[in-house]
Amino acid sequence: MWPDNLRGIYYIALKDMRTYYLKPPAISWGIVFPIAWILAFYLRNPWHFEQLVPGLIAMTVLFSTTAAEAVVINFELRLGSLERLLLAPLSLPAVLLGKVLGGAFFGLIMATVVTLGAILALGLFQVNLLYLMLILMPSLLVFSSLGALLCVLVKEVFEAQTLLNLPRFLMIFLSGVVYPISAMPPMLRSLAYLLPLTYTVDGLRQAFSPTPQTMIIVDTLVLVGFFILFIIPAMKLLARKFT
């Protein structure tokens, strides 16, 4: 059973990479949008840009994974080809995990490009690669599963992108991407700690900091918790769609 499911997860993710990564909604929301934001922030303040790098990498992860999920799930919901995967000898969680992995890998490519670009362009060679991995990997899964959770609620890609913008922009403004959480009023600060992107931004700041101040494993564990929190209802919603 598990060998079948693992094989299915791998091939679904592989197929999604080949089939959907160059679809216009994935390019516009997953590549163009984060790059446009990064350029806008750079042009506004090129002197202290390195302070914004962790937040912008986090934002890239958020947008690229969720944009990819909208494409890999909603294109197939609309055309009925998701049913084809469910007809294969795989469990429904395996099909969804394959989809989540497809989105996460798209996010990994984007995050790698932005991170390498930042390191090389700004000379941020002090980055702790282990810390970077400990934050990026769970974050990719968290936001990909958040995307999956919201995308299974609707059928069309544009509906999914619209729905995704609500948590995306909420997190961009409240999770310390641009404004430090410490400078926020107490109520907003409390709200920020309920959002997964806060832990991604915090973890990435530690990874880029020469003197890390918090235990990075806390951020990692919280992100793993968010992944479970999103993936289980996403599986249940998908199951309900097909029962």
Partner: protein
């Protein structure tokens, strides 16, 4: 295991809507079993329950010996499904679509390409193996969808309205392909609203009306239901509204069914009496009769008698050309 499918009181509600109402049937090994009924009769819902895409509200079913509620993943290894919509991947080529299916079903790496090429050749698609799915004609898409369902050599094949939307030539070609599959020993569960298709392909047919099976038998025995009765077909000139209703009042006790165009069919009764009544009716209503024929009972006639439905319902509800 003697039967490919055993369904017992299979029931499906969507909210308050009863889509499938306690259907029980079995499909024997190697037979082509048809589910015949108009759109909305519950044919696709039944397939969805038997293939794990929908959970039955009540009742039980075993597919190839596996319970559909608890062991459907095991059953899926040995079943192929051709859904009503050809839902392969538009962006992928014909070959890549088959290879992806081979990967999902766990075919050994060295056999995937061999099997895919074999299917592409036998379905006449080899020359188009590198064409993206979206560029294929509707008939080719349908054929490739059938090929994809056969990639893992299933023991049981579900075909949901396989020829809907195809032109006459493509539909005939696909029926020939389906006919060939039975010779390979594959059990086939076929849903259709085309009477002649069911007659041509199926060993046994279940007639489904409003979620209930009203009759299961071989096409020959179903047709025999009407063989002992005279069937007179009357064709009127021009549009004659309500003719069947008015005529049935005069032919009390007989079944008068409106057909396509301006025709009605009268089931039963002495031919002389029917003819005389029809002629009198035409004189009284001042309508012209185009032709009167004695008709050899077909599966369509059996369907009308058993289901109590006009064949026009089958055509109108689906609406596609043949």
């Amino acid at each position: 295991m003697n039967n490919a499918i055993e369904a017992s009181n299979l029931t499906k509600y969507y909210g308050d809507l009863l889509a499938v109402d306690h259907v029980s049937f079995e499909v024997r090994q190697g037979e082509v079993f048809g589910f015949l009924g108009p759109n909305g009769a519950g044919k696709t819902t039944t397939i969805r329950m038997l293939t794990g895409l929908s959970r039955p509200t009540a009742g039980s079913a075993r597919v190839l010996g596996f319970d559909v509620n608890s062991e459907i993943v095991k059953a899926k290894k040995h079943i192929g499904v051709v859904p009503e919509i050809s839902n392969l991947y538009d962006e992928m080529s014909a070959m890549d679509n088959l290879l992806f299916m081979a990967q999902l079903y766990g075919l050994p790496r060295d056999q995937r390409k061999i099997r895919a090429e074999e299917l592409l050749r036998s379905f006449g698609l080899y020359e188009r193996r590198d064409s993206p799915f979206r560029t294929l004609s509707r008939g080719m898409k349908r054929a490739l969808t059938v090929a994809a369902a056969l990639i893992h050599s299933p023991k049981l094949l579900f075909l949901d309205e396989p020829t809907v939307g195809l032109d006459v030539v493509a539909a005939r070609s696909l029926r020939a392909l389906i006919g060939n599959l039975r010779h390979r020993g594959i059990s086939i569960f076929l849903t259709t609203h085309y009477l002649e298709e069911a007659d041509l392909l199926c060993d046994r047919i279940a007639i489904l009306v409003k979620g209930r099976i009203v009759k299961i038998d071989t096409p020959t025995k179903l047709k025999a239901v009407t063989e002992e009765e005279a069937v007179i077909e009357v064709s009127f000139k021009g549009i004659v509204s309500g003719v069947a209703k008015e005529l049935s009042e005069r032919l009390a006790g007989l079944q008068v069914v409106p057909m396509y165009d301006h025709k009605v069919r009268v089931y039963g009764g002495a031919p002389g009496y029917v003819l005389e009544t029809v002629l009198q009716f035409a004189r009284d209503k001042d309508v012209e009769i185009d032709s009167v024929n004695s008709v050899k009972p077909s599966l369509e006639d059996a369907f009308i008698k058993i289901a109590g439905l006009s064949p026009t319902i089958m055509a109108i509800e689906k609406g596609e050309g043949r």
